[in-house]
Amino acid sequence: MPQKVLVVEDSQLLHRMFDMILARGPGFQVVHAMNGKDGLDKLAENPDVEVILLDINMPQMNGLEFLGKIQAEPQLKEIPVVIVSTEGKEEDILRGLKAGARAYLKKPFQAQDLLQVIEKVRENKK
Protein backbone atom coordinates (compact mmCIF):
# COMPACT_ATOMS: atom_id res chain seq x y z
CA MET A 1 0.00 0.00 0.00
CA PRO A 2 1.61 3.32 -1.01
CA GLN A 3 2.30 5.82 1.74
CA LYS A 4 0.05 8.88 1.62
CA VAL A 5 1.30 12.44 1.51
CA LEU A 6 -1.14 15.32 1.87
CA VAL A 7 -0.13 18.45 -0.05
CA VAL A 8 -1.83 21.63 1.17
CA GLU A 9 -0.97 24.33 -1.37
CA ASP A 10 -2.95 26.85 -3.44
CA SER A 11 -0.83 26.64 -6.61
CA GLN A 12 -1.99 24.10 -9.21
CA LEU A 13 1.51 24.17 -10.68
CA LEU A 14 3.09 23.17 -7.37
CA HIS A 15 0.61 20.31 -7.04
CA ARG A 16 1.73 19.00 -10.41
CA MET A 17 5.37 19.28 -9.37
CA PHE A 18 4.74 17.44 -6.12
CA ASP A 19 2.89 14.74 -8.04
CA MET A 20 5.80 14.29 -10.40
CA ILE A 21 8.44 14.12 -7.65
CA LEU A 22 6.54 11.96 -5.19
CA ALA A 23 4.46 9.55 -7.24
CA ARG A 24 6.94 7.98 -9.61
CA GLY A 25 10.18 6.75 -8.01
CA PRO A 26 9.26 6.96 -4.33
CA GLY A 27 5.73 5.69 -5.05
CA PHE A 28 3.82 7.93 -2.66
CA GLN A 29 0.10 8.44 -3.09
CA VAL A 30 -0.46 12.19 -3.16
CA VAL A 31 -3.64 13.71 -1.72
CA HIS A 32 -4.27 17.28 -2.87
CA ALA A 33 -5.81 20.20 -0.96
CA MET A 34 -6.02 23.79 -2.22
CA ASN A 35 -6.12 25.58 1.14
CA GLY A 36 -6.20 24.91 4.86
CA LYS A 37 -9.92 24.25 5.01
CA ASP A 38 -9.70 21.80 2.13
CA GLY A 39 -6.73 20.24 3.93
CA LEU A 40 -8.82 19.54 7.03
CA ASP A 41 -11.54 17.98 4.86
CA LYS A 42 -9.01 15.77 3.11
CA LEU A 43 -7.52 14.66 6.44
CA ALA A 44 -10.97 13.59 7.58
CA GLU A 45 -11.31 11.49 4.39
CA ASN A 46 -7.73 10.15 4.61
CA PRO A 47 -6.86 9.38 8.23
CA ASP A 48 -3.85 7.33 7.06
CA VAL A 49 -1.85 10.33 5.76
CA GLU A 50 1.80 9.84 6.72
CA VAL A 51 3.21 13.31 6.08
CA ILE A 52 1.74 16.75 5.36
CA LEU A 53 3.45 19.24 3.04
CA LEU A 54 2.06 22.65 3.91
CA ASP A 55 2.23 26.04 2.23
CA ILE A 56 1.72 29.13 4.38
CA ASN A 57 0.08 31.78 2.23
CA MET A 58 -3.26 30.39 1.06
CA PRO A 59 -6.79 31.78 0.77
CA GLN A 60 -9.62 30.87 3.13
CA MET A 61 -7.39 29.26 5.77
CA ASN A 62 -3.63 29.87 5.73
CA GLY A 63 -0.99 27.36 6.72
CA LEU A 64 -0.46 28.54 10.27
CA GLU A 65 -4.20 28.46 10.97
CA PHE A 66 -4.33 24.91 9.57
CA LEU A 67 -1.38 23.92 11.72
CA GLY A 68 -3.09 25.32 14.79
CA LYS A 69 -6.22 23.29 14.06
CA ILE A 70 -4.41 19.98 13.66
CA GLN A 71 -2.22 20.57 16.71
CA ALA A 72 -5.46 20.76 18.72
CA GLU A 73 -6.51 17.26 17.59
CA PRO A 74 -4.73 14.39 19.39
CA GLN A 75 -4.94 12.00 16.44
CA LEU A 76 -3.80 14.62 13.93
CA LYS A 77 -0.98 16.31 15.81
CA GLU A 78 1.22 13.22 15.44
CA ILE A 79 1.29 13.53 11.64
CA PRO A 80 4.57 15.26 10.79
CA VAL A 81 4.15 18.55 8.94
CA VAL A 82 6.77 20.01 6.62
CA ILE A 83 6.24 23.66 5.81
CA VAL A 84 7.10 24.34 2.17
CA SER A 85 7.09 28.08 1.64
CA THR A 86 8.67 31.04 -0.10
CA GLU A 87 9.00 32.71 3.31
CA GLY A 88 12.47 31.81 4.40
CA LYS A 89 13.60 34.34 6.96
CA GLU A 90 14.72 32.96 10.29
CA GLU A 91 11.69 34.37 12.10
CA ASP A 92 9.35 32.70 9.57
CA ILE A 93 11.04 29.35 10.09
CA LEU A 94 10.95 29.69 13.88
CA ARG A 95 7.29 30.70 13.77
CA GLY A 96 6.45 27.61 11.75
CA LEU A 97 8.42 25.26 13.97
CA LYS A 98 6.94 26.83 17.09
CA ALA A 99 3.46 26.29 15.61
CA GLY A 100 4.15 22.58 15.39
CA ALA A 101 5.87 21.89 12.09
CA ARG A 102 8.66 19.29 12.17
CA ALA A 103 10.67 20.72 9.28
CA TYR A 104 10.82 23.63 6.88
CA LEU A 105 11.70 23.58 3.19
CA LYS A 106 12.13 26.87 1.37
CA LYS A 107 10.96 27.32 -2.22
CA PRO A 108 12.53 26.94 -4.75
CA PHE A 109 13.69 23.45 -3.90
CA GLN A 110 15.18 20.53 -5.80
CA ALA A 111 13.38 17.20 -5.98
CA GLN A 112 16.08 15.55 -3.89
CA ASP A 113 15.73 18.12 -1.09
CA LEU A 114 12.02 17.38 -0.84
CA LEU A 115 12.52 13.63 -0.72
CA GLN A 116 15.24 13.95 1.91
CA VAL A 117 13.15 16.09 4.24
CA ILE A 118 10.17 13.73 3.94
CA GLU A 119 12.41 10.77 4.74
CA LYS A 120 13.87 12.61 7.72
CA VAL A 121 10.50 13.46 9.31
CA ARG A 122 9.22 9.93 8.72
CA GLU A 123 12.33 8.48 10.36
CA ASN A 124 11.99 10.81 13.32
CA LYS A 125 8.36 9.81 13.72
CA LYS A 126 9.42 6.16 14.18
Binding site: S11, L13, R16, M17, M20, A23, R24, K37, I56, N57, M58, P59, Q60, M61, N62, L64, E65, T86, E87, K107, P108, F109, Q110, A111
Partner: protein, 278 residues
Protein backbone atom coordinates in the same frame (compact mmCIF):
# COMPACT_ATOMS: atom_id res chain seq x y z
CA UNK B 1 -28.65 50.78 7.79
CA UNK B 2 -26.28 53.67 8.43
CA UNK B 3 -22.51 53.54 8.76
CA UNK B 4 -22.55 53.81 12.56
CA UNK B 5 -24.92 50.86 12.93
CA UNK B 6 -22.83 48.90 10.40
CA UNK B 7 -19.66 49.42 12.45
CA UNK B 8 -21.44 48.36 15.64
CA UNK B 9 -22.69 45.18 14.01
CA UNK B 10 -19.24 44.30 12.72
CA UNK B 11 -17.98 44.40 16.32
CA UNK B 12 -20.68 42.02 17.56
CA UNK B 13 -19.60 38.83 19.30
CA UNK B 14 -22.00 36.63 17.34
CA UNK B 15 -21.10 35.72 13.81
CA UNK B 16 -24.64 36.06 12.47
CA UNK B 17 -24.76 39.77 13.28
CA UNK B 18 -21.31 40.35 11.83
CA UNK B 19 -22.26 38.38 8.71
CA UNK B 20 -25.44 40.40 8.21
CA UNK B 21 -23.39 43.58 8.41
CA UNK B 22 -20.69 42.29 6.06
CA UNK B 23 -23.34 41.38 3.50
CA UNK B 24 -24.46 45.00 3.51
CA UNK B 25 -21.04 46.42 2.66
CA UNK B 26 -21.37 46.09 -1.10
CA UNK B 27 -24.87 47.59 -1.00
CA UNK B 28 -23.62 50.99 0.14
CA UNK B 29 -22.92 53.57 -2.57
CA UNK B 30 -19.93 54.65 -0.48
CA UNK B 31 -19.35 52.23 2.37
CA UNK B 32 -17.14 53.25 5.31
CA UNK B 33 -13.72 52.00 4.27
CA UNK B 34 -12.62 51.42 7.85
CA UNK B 35 -15.51 48.97 8.22
CA UNK B 36 -14.32 47.04 5.17
CA UNK B 37 -10.77 46.90 6.50
CA UNK B 38 -12.01 45.70 9.89
CA UNK B 39 -14.18 42.97 8.35
CA UNK B 40 -11.30 41.75 6.18
CA UNK B 41 -9.61 40.57 9.39
CA UNK B 42 -12.67 38.91 10.88
CA UNK B 43 -11.99 35.48 12.33
CA UNK B 44 -14.98 34.04 10.45
CA UNK B 45 -14.38 33.16 6.81
CA UNK B 46 -17.94 34.01 5.62
CA UNK B 47 -17.60 37.53 7.05
CA UNK B 48 -14.17 37.95 5.46
CA UNK B 49 -15.52 36.72 2.11
CA UNK B 50 -18.10 39.51 1.96
CA UNK B 51 -15.51 42.03 3.10
CA UNK B 52 -13.20 40.88 0.30
CA UNK B 53 -15.95 41.49 -2.27
CA UNK B 54 -16.39 45.00 -0.89
CA UNK B 55 -12.65 45.63 -0.76
CA UNK B 56 -12.34 44.63 -4.41
CA UNK B 57 -14.96 47.21 -5.28
CA UNK B 58 -14.14 50.10 -2.96
CA UNK B 59 -10.66 50.03 -1.43
CA UNK B 60 -7.94 51.75 -3.45
CA UNK B 61 -5.85 49.15 -5.26
CA UNK B 62 -2.64 50.74 -3.95
CA UNK B 63 -3.87 50.21 -0.42
CA UNK B 64 -4.62 46.56 -1.17
CA UNK B 65 -1.07 46.17 -2.48
CA UNK B 66 0.31 47.67 0.72
CA UNK B 67 -1.73 45.10 2.69
CA UNK B 68 -0.07 42.37 0.63
CA UNK B 69 3.25 43.79 1.80
CA UNK B 70 2.20 43.41 5.45
CA UNK B 71 4.08 40.30 6.48
CA UNK B 72 2.95 40.42 10.09
CA UNK B 73 -0.75 40.00 9.32
CA UNK B 74 -1.36 36.87 7.26
CA UNK B 75 -5.16 37.16 7.45
CA UNK B 76 -5.17 40.68 6.05
CA UNK B 77 -2.54 39.81 3.48
CA UNK B 78 -4.52 36.88 2.15
CA UNK B 79 -7.75 38.89 2.11
CA UNK B 80 -6.03 41.65 0.14
CA UNK B 81 -4.69 39.10 -2.36
CA UNK B 82 -8.20 37.75 -2.93
CA UNK B 83 -9.60 41.26 -3.26
CA UNK B 84 -7.00 42.20 -5.86
CA UNK B 85 -7.87 39.09 -7.89
CA UNK B 86 -11.47 40.32 -7.99
CA UNK B 87 -10.60 43.95 -8.68
CA UNK B 88 -10.50 43.66 -12.48
CA UNK B 89 -9.43 46.78 -14.37
CA UNK B 90 -9.26 48.76 -11.11
CA UNK B 91 -6.35 46.73 -9.84
CA UNK B 92 -4.23 46.42 -12.97
CA UNK B 93 -2.25 49.67 -12.57
CA UNK B 94 -1.33 49.00 -8.94
CA UNK B 95 -0.42 45.39 -9.66
CA UNK B 96 1.80 46.29 -12.60
CA UNK B 97 3.46 48.91 -10.39
CA UNK B 98 3.98 46.25 -7.72
CA UNK B 99 6.07 44.19 -10.16
CA UNK B 100 8.96 46.53 -9.36
CA UNK B 101 8.35 46.66 -5.59
CA UNK B 102 11.39 46.49 -3.34
CA UNK B 103 9.91 43.53 -1.43
CA UNK B 104 10.37 40.37 -3.56
CA UNK B 105 7.35 38.74 -1.90
CA UNK B 106 5.13 41.60 -3.09
CA UNK B 107 6.53 41.22 -6.62
CA UNK B 108 5.84 37.50 -6.50
CA UNK B 109 2.27 37.94 -5.25
CA UNK B 110 1.57 40.67 -7.81
CA UNK B 111 2.79 38.42 -10.60
CA UNK B 112 0.58 35.60 -9.31
CA UNK B 113 -2.49 37.79 -8.88
CA UNK B 114 -2.23 39.08 -12.44
CA UNK B 115 -2.90 35.53 -13.58
CA UNK B 116 -6.40 35.72 -12.11
CA UNK B 117 -7.36 39.32 -12.85
CA UNK B 118 -10.13 39.61 -15.42
CA UNK B 119 -8.80 42.52 -17.44
CA UNK B 120 -6.55 43.22 -20.39
CA UNK B 121 -2.96 43.89 -19.47
CA UNK B 122 0.42 44.14 -21.19
CA UNK B 123 2.52 41.01 -21.24
CA UNK B 124 5.96 42.61 -21.40
CA UNK B 125 6.35 43.38 -17.68
CA UNK B 126 5.76 39.70 -16.94
CA UNK B 127 8.13 38.55 -19.66
CA UNK B 128 10.79 40.82 -18.13
CA UNK B 129 10.42 38.87 -14.86
CA UNK B 130 11.40 35.57 -16.52
CA UNK B 131 15.03 36.56 -16.00
CA UNK B 132 14.58 37.64 -12.38
CA UNK B 133 17.24 36.29 -10.04
CA UNK B 134 14.52 35.28 -7.57
CA UNK B 135 13.21 32.02 -9.00
CA UNK B 136 9.92 32.25 -7.12
CA UNK B 137 9.21 35.52 -8.92
CA UNK B 138 10.22 34.08 -12.28
CA UNK B 139 8.04 31.03 -11.67
CA UNK B 140 5.05 33.19 -10.76
CA UNK B 141 5.50 35.16 -13.98
CA UNK B 142 5.72 31.95 -16.02
CA UNK B 143 2.57 30.58 -14.43
CA UNK B 144 0.68 33.80 -15.08
CA UNK B 145 1.78 33.95 -18.71
CA UNK B 146 0.39 30.44 -19.13
CA UNK B 147 -2.89 31.30 -17.41
CA UNK B 148 -3.27 34.36 -19.63
CA UNK B 149 -2.49 32.34 -22.80
CA UNK B 150 0.14 34.95 -23.61
CA UNK B 151 1.03 33.95 -27.15
CA UNK B 152 3.61 36.74 -27.45
CA UNK B 153 5.53 35.18 -24.58
CA UNK B 154 6.12 31.84 -26.34
CA UNK B 155 9.69 32.54 -27.57
CA UNK B 156 10.73 33.73 -24.11
CA UNK B 157 9.11 30.72 -22.45
CA UNK B 158 10.85 28.35 -24.86
CA UNK B 159 14.08 30.03 -23.75
CA UNK B 160 13.26 29.15 -20.15
CA UNK B 161 13.27 25.44 -21.08
CA UNK B 162 17.06 25.61 -20.79
CA UNK B 163 16.76 26.61 -17.15
CA UNK B 164 16.65 24.53 -13.98
CA UNK B 165 13.85 22.31 -12.70
CA UNK B 166 11.91 25.00 -10.87
CA UNK B 167 11.43 27.12 -13.97
CA UNK B 168 11.54 24.48 -16.65
CA UNK B 169 8.61 22.56 -15.22
CA UNK B 170 6.55 25.75 -15.01
CA UNK B 171 7.47 26.73 -18.57
CA UNK B 172 6.40 23.35 -19.94
CA UNK B 173 3.02 23.70 -18.26
CA UNK B 174 2.61 27.29 -19.45
CA UNK B 175 3.47 26.39 -23.05
CA UNK B 176 0.78 23.73 -22.94
CA UNK B 177 -1.76 26.29 -21.74
CA UNK B 178 -0.84 28.69 -24.52
CA UNK B 179 -0.91 25.83 -27.05
CA UNK B 180 1.22 27.51 -29.72
CA UNK B 181 2.89 25.07 -32.14
CA UNK B 182 6.19 26.98 -31.97
CA UNK B 183 6.72 25.11 -28.71
CA UNK B 184 6.21 21.63 -30.22
CA UNK B 185 9.80 20.67 -31.03
CA UNK B 186 11.30 22.11 -27.82
CA UNK B 187 8.68 20.18 -25.84
CA UNK B 188 9.37 17.00 -27.80
CA UNK B 189 12.97 17.27 -26.58
CA UNK B 190 11.69 17.29 -22.98
CA UNK B 191 10.05 13.89 -23.49
CA UNK B 192 13.54 12.43 -23.11
CA UNK B 193 13.73 13.43 -19.45
CA UNK B 194 11.65 11.31 -17.09
CA UNK B 195 11.31 14.33 -14.79
CA UNK B 196 9.39 16.32 -17.41
CA UNK B 197 7.99 13.58 -19.59
CA UNK B 198 4.41 13.59 -18.30
CA UNK B 199 4.11 17.36 -18.29
CA UNK B 200 5.65 17.64 -21.75
CA UNK B 201 3.33 14.97 -23.13
CA UNK B 202 0.30 16.74 -21.72
CA UNK B 203 1.46 20.06 -23.17
CA UNK B 204 2.01 18.45 -26.57
CA UNK B 205 -1.51 17.06 -26.45
CA UNK B 206 -2.89 20.52 -25.82
CA UNK B 207 -0.93 21.94 -28.74
CA UNK B 208 -2.05 18.97 -30.86
CA UNK B 209 0.59 19.51 -33.54
CA UNK B 210 0.94 16.56 -35.95
CA UNK B 211 4.74 16.67 -35.48
CA UNK B 212 4.28 15.38 -31.95
CA UNK B 213 2.61 12.10 -32.90
CA UNK B 214 5.72 10.03 -33.61
CA UNK B 215 7.62 11.07 -30.46
CA UNK B 216 4.51 10.53 -28.36
CA UNK B 217 4.08 7.05 -29.77
CA UNK B 218 7.71 6.28 -28.99
CA UNK B 219 7.25 7.39 -25.38
CA UNK B 220 4.04 5.38 -25.13
CA UNK B 221 5.95 2.28 -26.25
CA UNK B 222 8.99 2.77 -24.04
CA UNK B 223 7.60 4.09 -20.78
CA UNK B 224 4.94 1.80 -19.38
CA UNK B 225 4.42 3.47 -15.99
CA UNK B 226 0.61 3.56 -15.88
CA UNK B 227 0.01 7.20 -14.82
CA UNK B 228 2.45 8.38 -17.48
CA UNK B 229 0.92 6.13 -20.11
CA UNK B 230 -2.52 7.54 -19.35
CA UNK B 231 -1.29 11.09 -19.97
CA UNK B 232 0.50 10.11 -23.18
CA UNK B 233 -2.58 8.26 -24.41
CA UNK B 234 -4.67 11.36 -23.88
CA UNK B 235 -2.09 13.45 -25.70
CA UNK B 236 -2.09 11.02 -28.62
CA UNK B 237 -5.88 11.15 -28.70
CA UNK B 238 -5.80 14.94 -28.86
CA UNK B 239 -3.27 15.01 -31.69
CA UNK B 240 -5.23 12.37 -33.57
CA UNK B 241 -8.43 14.30 -32.98
CA UNK B 242 -7.05 17.26 -34.85
CA UNK B 243 -4.94 15.26 -37.32
CA UNK B 244 -6.65 11.92 -37.99
CA UNK B 245 -4.12 11.19 -40.74
CA UNK B 246 -1.46 10.65 -38.04
CA UNK B 247 -3.25 7.56 -36.71
CA UNK B 248 -1.56 5.41 -39.37
CA UNK B 249 1.69 6.01 -37.49
CA UNK B 250 0.46 3.66 -34.76
CA UNK B 251 1.13 0.66 -37.00
CA UNK B 252 4.41 2.19 -38.11
CA UNK B 253 5.80 2.78 -34.60
CA UNK B 254 4.22 0.01 -32.53
CA UNK B 255 4.06 -3.74 -32.89
CA UNK B 256 1.96 -6.67 -31.74
CA UNK B 257 -0.39 -6.23 -28.82
CA UNK B 258 0.64 -2.61 -28.34
CA UNK B 259 -1.15 -1.67 -31.55
CA UNK B 260 -4.48 -3.13 -30.49
CA UNK B 261 -4.10 -1.90 -26.92
CA UNK B 262 -3.52 1.69 -28.00
CA UNK B 263 -6.29 1.54 -30.61
CA UNK B 264 -8.68 0.30 -27.92
CA UNK B 265 -7.68 3.06 -25.52
CA UNK B 266 -8.09 5.70 -28.21
CA UNK B 267 -11.53 4.48 -29.19
CA UNK B 268 -12.52 4.56 -25.52
CA UNK B 269 -11.40 8.18 -25.38
CA UNK B 270 -13.41 8.96 -28.50
CA UNK B 271 -16.55 7.31 -27.05
CA UNK B 272 -16.22 9.25 -23.81
CA UNK B 273 -15.74 12.51 -25.71
CA UNK B 274 -18.84 11.82 -27.82
CA UNK B 275 -20.93 11.00 -24.77
CA UNK B 276 -19.98 14.24 -23.01
CA UNK B 277 -20.34 16.27 -26.19
CA UNK B 278 -16.66 17.18 -26.28
Amino acid sequence: MDATRLREMLEATDIETRLTAAQQLVLFAEPPLDAIRHAMEDEALPVRTHAIDAAAKFLPADELVSMVANQSNATLRNAAIEALKLSGERGVGALLGALTHTDPEVVMFAAQILGDVKAELPVEPLVDLLQHEDKNIAQSAIETLGKRRAIDAVPALVGVLENDFWLQFAAITALGEIADPRATLPLVARLQDEMYRGEAAEALGKIADAQAMTPLLDVWKEDTWPPLRARVTLAIARVAGRHPETLKQIEERLTGDDVSLLRTLLSTHARINRSVGA
